[in-house]
């Protein structure tokens, strides 16, 4: 049963326009990487690789890909009304949630991790940045899971999920988390970077400002768990119009 939900979701997620948009987005760091490979300035490779990936992937590609796919997973069906066909079936709501998440999360992870890996290796692979790149790939993969779960839940909670998600990423993670120390513990971006830093000790990401990796992992797990619970809870109480 879960499999059918997952398969159906995969089919609906990969609408042509969306796919093109996401591939272009994920390709941007790769293209920059290739540009760097071709015409790169000499200089400290590891540091620059880390900065490039942080700026391009962690701040932009990762949350955007998670946002577009996550909010679409259930949100798109709610918006166009086709969710009714899924809701009026004797399938436990948690199974629906699992199927949806199972279909949505891997593409996000693959796109983002692939982008990180290829771009990172292109920029700094032969400048000793391999460990950093791998660490970032791991961190970004976990971050992708967390973002996906969060945005799928948002998609079930509100029809303005995309704006809400953007507000979270731009305003909360972007502006405010930089200002208030405490809010850093509630930022998926920070969790991602903390995990990467922990896997690459002494590397350019391992700054004093980084979160403790334990806190980061707990944070990631909490986001995943709470988002899943919220998704199941809300799916069970979704109210739909039967007619117009």
């Amino acid at each position: 049963m879960i499999r059918i939900v997952a398969a159906g979701t995969l089919r609906s997620l990969f609408a042509r326009r969306r796919v093109i948009f996401l591939l272009l987005l994920a390709a941007v760091p790769v293209l920059i990487g290739l540009l760097a490979r071709w015409r790169g300035l000499p200089g400290e490779g590891v540091e620059r690789t880390a900065t490039a990936i942080e700026q391009l992937v962690v701040r932009a590609v990762l949350p955007l890909v998670g946002l577009v796919l996550g909010t679409a997973a259930i949100g798109a069906e709610i918006e166009d009304g086709t969710i009714i066909h899924l809701i009026t079936k004797p399938v436990a709501r948690w199974r629906i949630a699992v199927g949806k998440l199972l279909a949505t999360t891997p593409p996000v992870v693959v796109l983002v991790a692939g982008s990180t890996l290829i771009a990172g290796l292109a920029i700094g692979g032969d400048r000793g940045a391999l460990t950093t790149v791998l660490a970032l790939t791991a961190g970004v993969s976990l971050g992708a899971v967390a973002y996906t779960f969060l945005f799928v839940a948002l998609g079930v909670l509100t029809t303005r999920a995309l704006i809400a998600g953007l507000a979270y990423v731009i305003v909360w993670e972007g502006l405010l988390a930089g200002l208030f120390e405490g809010s850093r513990t509630l930022s998926i971006r920070e969790y991602t970077l903390a995990v990467a830093a922990a896997l690459d000790p002494g590397g350019p990401l391992d700054t004093d400002l980084r979160l403790d990796p334990v806190v980061a992992v707990v944070g990631l797990a909490a986001v995943v768990g709470v988002s899943f619970a919220v998704t199941v809870w809300r799916l069970g109480r979704l109210e739909l119009q039967a007619g117009d």
Binding site: I87, K89, Q241, G243
Partner: protein, 340 residues
């Protein structure tokens, strides 16, 4: 009468009224209602409001096997009521149960329940076959492909089954939704304005289909604001107006209950004028009119009139060629109900 899961009996009133709806003259809210406990669909004092707006107002009824029409103008609350029956909306008050289970927050109820929603929303990129097959699989059927093909056959959609739903006409999409709702052989079927956008041939076909399913013992409830459809198809009606249940049962019976409204008959006889003269003398008749070759009689006392008419005709040596009640259409019933 027997349904797919054994005999269904004991609660159909031989007089034609299903639910123990009170006589038309008392308001449903004030009467003490007893909805029969084993009716497949039971609604007890169900209400639904959105802030200040009450969409469904203290509605109670029971529905059994056969076809019941939910009739009402747009905005009367039909879709809201169907939404509650289908488990898509939470009743703000009261209870809504299908086959003994409350419909809200109970996915299991969908094993026995099929819904054909009004909205166009179907995934355009799926083929018809795929759509119905997925429905079958999600219902947990052991052989979804076969079940899907059977359902598609019933709705006559086998030929275009492999084309995507986006290429279907509106009527075809409607049939696809019906196939998906039937694929698991549900005991209860809910249809929201199912004939919207159908051409006459498709409509007749679907009506035949529904009649056949009702004969198998299924409980079918469909909503409509087109009186002719309901009149032709439904064995019983529920009339909803401004969120309230205005009447329920067989519409001819309802008509008979509207005693404060005169009945009208159209008569063609061998000597209309003579018959008219005799009728006008009757206390049960309060108007007789000769118009365009017909005799139109209005009476306030239906039983007395029906007894006296043949007697008067015989006594006056008038042959009755045709006697027709003119205002027992559902339309006149409906107009009366919503005017009260």
């Amino acid at each position: 009468m027997s349904g797919p899961r054994g005999p269904v009996e004991g609660w159909v009133d031989p007089g034609g009224v299903i639910a123990p709806a009170p006589p038309i003259l008392s308001s449903p809210q004030s009467a003490v209602l007893e909805v029969p406990p084993d009716a497949p669909i039971r609604v007890e004092h169900a209400s639904r409001w959105y802030g200040n707006v009450v969409a469904v107002n203290d509605v109670s009824f029971g529905i059994g096997a056969g076809i019941t029409g939910l009739l009402g103008p747009n905005g009367a609350g039909k879709s809201t009521l169907l939404g509650m029956l289908a488990g898509l909306l939470r009743p703000s008050a009261g209870s809504v149960t299908v086959l003994g289970r409350p419909t809200w927050r109970d996915p299991g109820v969908y094993r026995q329940l099929g819904l054909v929603p009004e909205r166009e929303a179907v995934p355009a990129y799926l083929s018809g076959r795929r759509f119905v097959r997925d429905a079958a699989a999600l219902q947990g059927l052991p052989d979804p492909g076969a079940a899907a093909d059977r359902a598609l056959g019933i709705v006559d959609l086998l030929d275009p089954a492999d084309r995507t739903l986006g290429t279907y006409s509106k009527g075809m999409r409607q049939r696809a939704k019906l196939a998906a709702a039937l694929v698991h052989d549900p005991a209860v079927l809910l249809l929201d304005e199912p004939f919207n956008g159908m051409d006459p041939r498709q409509r007749l076909h679907m009506m035949d289909l529904l009649r056949q399913m009702a004969a198998e013992g299924r409980t079918i409830l469909f909503s409509s604001h087109i009186l002719e459809e309901v009149e032709r198809l439904a064995q019983q009606v529920l009339v909803l107006y401004a969120g309230r249940l205005a009447a329920s049962g067989d519409f001819r019976e309802i008509r008979r209950l509207m005693t404060d409204r005169p009945h009208e008959f159209t008569i063609r006889s061998s000597d209309d004028r003579r018959l008219a003269a005799a009728l006008v003398a009757e206390p049960s008749v309060f108007a007789a009119e000769l118009r365009d070759g017909w005799l139109i009689v209005r009476t306030a006392d239906f039983p007395a009139f029906t007894r006296r008419l043949p007697v008067l005709a015989r006594d006056g040596s008038v042959t009755l060629h045709e006697v027709r009640p003119t205002d027992e259409s559902l339309e006149s019933v409906f107009a009366y109900l919503v005017r009260r």
